[in-house]
């Protein structure tokens, strides 16, 4: 009996079984929704046809309608701004903090642990906390800025069209910093001290050591946090739901929230599916660029 089990585990049948298991999982849980979503984007779907598969195909009409919508350019621009600014500040602040904690001052480990607190909080809770901080009439931030004498009146962070998107970006940056910091901290810890010592003896200043040792050796980690950051930022939904609902009048609306609005508030499910398909294509592109860039990486 043990012999049988052995030959099964070592044999090609077991390998095939493992491959099928993985493929099956992907098929049911990833590929099916993806393909279903793709099909939806070419169909005319409403509340009544939602339950059946038998729906009229409409070719590229959904795409034309979505891309031609009056609000589309603004929402695309908002999304780009949301992703770019969120990433820029998440990564630079996260990297800065990781470098700071890498100096190993007393209590560094303990303090770094505290940063994780923000990470484990659900997005909706974070959103609620930030809506309280950013509230125009009795918000903490306005109170703070007024006390410091930096503003006279009130800033309506969430309802001012010029401010709403930036308010969500601030909250999202705050939410993303711990993740960036932890991942980059791990990368920094993996760089041996003696490389810095050798570089110091070779005549490198602190800044030169950062440029010639730290940055190149952190390339893979930076690539990872940027690629994952793009994906996570495009998935950020809770903050919009909790803070601005995309308003006022789409001033802070982004693709992922728009897609949800069309699908589940206006029941234009085909239109919602078009946006998801476009976003999936973009994410796949980002992932491909990331995988390509890590493949030529130099192992330490």
């Amino acid at each position: 009996m043990p012999r049988l089990r052995h030959s099964f585990r070592d044999g090609p049948a077991f390998d095939a079984f493992l491959v099928l298991l993985a493929l099956g999982y992907l098929l049911v849980l990833s590929a099916f929704p993806l393909v279903y979503n793709l099909i939806l984007s070419f169909q005319d779907v409403d509340l009544f046809t939602l339950a059946s598969f038998d729906r009229p195909f409409v070719g590229w009409r959904n795409y034309a309608e979505v891309l031609g919508a009056l609000v589309a350019p603004g929402i695309f621009a908002n999304t780009a701004l949301f992703v770019a600014l969120s990433l820029l500040f998440q990564v630079t602040i996260g990297f800065g903090l990781a470098l700071l904690f890498d100096l190993r001052f007393p209590g560094a480990r303990w303090l770094r642990g505290l940063f994780l607190a923000g990470w484990i909080m659900p997005g909706l809770v974070v959103g609620a906390v930030w809506s309280w901080i950013l509230a125009g009439d009795f918000g903490v931030l306005n109170h703070l800025l007024r006390t410091l004498g930096m503003i006279d009146g009130r800033i309506f962070w969430l309802s001012d069209p010029d401010m709403a998107l930036y308010s969500v970006i601030i909250a999202n940056v705050w939410l993303g910093i711990p993740f960036n910091m932890i991942l980059l901290s791990v990368g920094l810890a993996a760089i041996p001290d003696d490389l810095y010592e050798a570089a110091a003896l070779d005549g490198a200043t602190r800044l030169q050591r950062f440029r010639t040792i730290t940055l190149p050796l952190m390339r893979a980690q930076l690539g990872a946090v940027i690629a994952l950051g793009v994906i996570f930022t495009l998935q950020q939904f809770d903050l919009f739901a909790a803070l601005t609902q995309g308003g006022p009048s789409n001033a802070s609306n982004v693709l992922q929230y728009w897609s949800w609005q069309m699908s589940f508030q206006e029941y234009r499910i085909g239109h919602g599916a078009v946006v998801s398909v476009l976003m999936i294509l973009f994410v796949v592109l980002v992932a491909a660029v990331y995988v390509r860039s890590t493949r030529q990486d130099h192992a330490v």
Partner: protein, 363 residues
Amino acid sequence: MTEPQIELHGIQKHYGAFHALRDVSLTVPAGRFVALVGPSGCGKSTLLRVLAGLETIAAGRIRIAGRDVTHLPPRLRDLAMVFQSYALYPHLTVEQNLTYALRLRGVPRAECRRRAEEIAAITGLQSLLGRYPRELSGGQRQRVAMGRAIIREPRAFLFDEPLSNLDAALRVQMRSEIRKLHDRLGATSVYVTHDQIEAMTMADTVVVMRAGRIEQEGPPLALYDRPANRFVAGFIGSPAMNFLPGEIAPDGRHVRLALPGDPVLALGSRRLDAGRQVTVGLRPEHLVPAEDGSGQMTLSVALVEQTGSASMLVTATDPALTVAVARRLDLRPGDPIRLSVDPSCIHLFDSVTEQALSPEVMC
């Protein structure tokens, strides 16, 4: 040629409550090859790192080529260090590793290239300039680490056990290559090792350390012939010196050993206080089997090891003595052996302070 290149004066180093260097002073003349030896944890690496500026010190002064560098960061000390781990930059090719320091100083590209090729020729790396460190063998990495040090023409070279990751044969070869390079460059080198053979064969001056202190420094053979104390005597020489209790005879010219038969050895021209308790040090190679029955002591053999050209035996005594003979001996365990010792080869140490008594013996 003999003005000091490196001067360490009264160095004190603490790691928290641990006192790692205790008032260490050392002068290295220009062109000298100095080896730091001592048991693990005695502070060799710490001293080297202090010299390089990688560790701060609580007290003391450091001068390099006449300039006080005590408070200068490593990059301004103009020293090159070869690490035990080699510390090659993993993301740079061999050529980029070699020229890293030059490029920092803004040396033009063509000049970097020329120097890299020159150094590659010296270190045998010509065909490897385009490779990354992970594509090199241990010995090749070692050469890159060496090349990266010499390309800079620094004030001095610091080595921290650079050969300990190599196999025995390569270690012997690199030993002489490093020494040849040192001579060719007219360099000043400080070389840390826990291998006393390495220290003895490579260095002009050997510095023996123990527990954060320098126990003795001097030319290799001087340390072998005239160890200043029992620790140095036991550390230098392989196989290690035998130690046994003894008492100075009433005439002050002989020593009685605590061995079966109470053998008495003549001390030659030396004269000590009668009845004084001492520790007697006898090197294995100075215990000579006496064929003609003229030996000074007869001991029983416990163990014989033959290497073909030489024999090593251990006596069945307490303490056991090791005897090294440069020829074959037809002996087996239990056989008696007669041994004699040249009076000038007997080392005597105070049994309390462990300092050498009349260390002027020459053997």
